[in-house]
């Protein structure tokens, strides 16, 4: 039986094979999915904000792109993953509302994407696929057997990266 683990908002989780990590209804948040293809260990973080450094309250490490990736990596390595083999896929970072003004609240999706990329690049973790941006929500499912990420939407179909 596959072990299905849900990842909530500002939450992260890891699992061994056979397992599936699911996060429902990603909006401007970004789902960062990490994979060790040999050990088939998967990890997923549902981050809300780009950086823990700008936040007054940064105790929840899964909330921020920078600290979430660090914690996710640690947890995967504890399960036996090899850091050198880990690859990443990104999804989410939508702009749910369109306004004429370009205030912070509007651009947060884009900033989450940029921060997630920057963090992964700084750790030399290759980003092998992305489904980001747009103006719609996504539900994502990450499979340990082959590292595929399935993306479901309302009105924009189902895809796989």
């Amino acid at each position: 039986m596959e072990n299905v683990v849900k990842v909530g908002m500002a939450d992260l989780n890891v699992t061994r094979d056979p397992g599936v990590l699911i996060t429902l209804g990603l909006g401007s948040c970004v789902g960062i999915s990490l994979y060790d293809s040999v050990k088939r260990i998967i990890g997923m973080a549902h981050i809300m904000l780009p950086s823990s450094e700008q936040a007054k309250n940064n105790q929840n490490r899964a909330k921020f792109a920078d600290t979430a990736v660090d914690t996710l990596l640690d947890n995967m390595i504890k399960l036996g993953a090899d850091r050198k083999r880990i690859t990443a896929k990104l999804a989410g970072g939508a702009q749910m509302f369109s306004f004429s003004s370009s205030s912070d609240i509007i651009r947060v999706g884009e900033r989450n994407i940029l921060a997630s990329r920057a963090k992964l690049i700084s750790l030399n973790i290759p980003i092998i696929a992305e489904d980001v941006g747009g103006n719609y929500g996504r539900t994502i499912e990450f499979y340990s057997c082959d590292g595929r990420l399935v993306i479901k939407t309302i009105g924009h179909g189902v895809s796989q990266i």
């Binding site: 209804g25 509302f97 947060v108």
Partner: protein
């Protein structure tokens, strides 16, 4: 003191509940005038929830919902969002357009219905804001609303992220409107920007 919902006392919640109450009362009156019908409302409930439970607010993260959001400036800056389930939104449109009984008949919204919803959001948000303005003496100006239809989790991520800058919880006000046998439940999210918290709390007399 670091201001966040996590460490605010019950007084702030009570004040917001009262604003919700007055605001919903105004909104019900405004709706009743437009529709020329008697609209009742239930006492609004101010609620605080953690992020991980946010999608349960509207029946699951993947439940299709309508979000109507508008930004606010003046003495306070921030955003206000009204969220309701797609089914409830249909009901509201049918109440407004006088077609009760057909609720849930069609899944898609027509341009006309979307426009009606946007206007309802405008009226409701305006009512809340004018209550808030009256109560605090602050000048608050709403901007043109934007509407989005998508999964509850995705829509609610917008207010959640703003609240996330200061804490791990979200505050919202649940409001129910009733017209004869049809009722509509919607949730209001008042999302002041970080700098506006203090202004708001001072104006409300919660902090000095």
């Amino acid at each position: 003191m670091s201001l966040s919902l996590d460490n605010l006392d019950n007084m702030y919640i009570d004040v917001l509940r009262e604003i919700g109450n007055i605001g919903a009362g105004n909104a019900a009156t405004a709706l009743a005038k437009i529709m020329n019908k008697k609209i009742d409302m239930d006492v609004p409930k101010a609620k605080i929830i953690e992020f991980k439970n946010i999608s349960e607010v509207l029946g699951g993260a993947e439940t299709p919902v309508i979000g109507i959001m508008l930004s606010v400036d003046g003495d306070l800056s921030g955003n206000i969002m009204f969220v309701l389930e797609q089914k409830a939104a249909k009901n509201l449109v049918y109440i407004l357009m006088g077609q009760i009984g057909q609720a849930g008949a069609a899944e898609e919204f027509t341009e006309m219905e979307l426009s009606a919803l946007q206007e309802i959001g405008n009226i409701l948000a305006g009512s809340y804001l004018s209550s808030l303005s009256t109560l605090t003496g602050l000048k608050i100006y709403p901007q043109v609303p934007a509407l989005a239809i998508d999964m509850a989790g995705a829509i609610l991520s917008v207010p959640a992220i703003e609240f996330g800058k200061t804490g791990d919880t979200v505050l919202y006000i649940e409001t129910e409107f009733i017209e004869d046998d049809a009722s509509v439940v919607g949730d209001f999210f008042l999302i002041p920007e970080v700098e506006s918290y203090e202004i708001l709390l001072k104006a409300l007399g919660v902090i000095s």
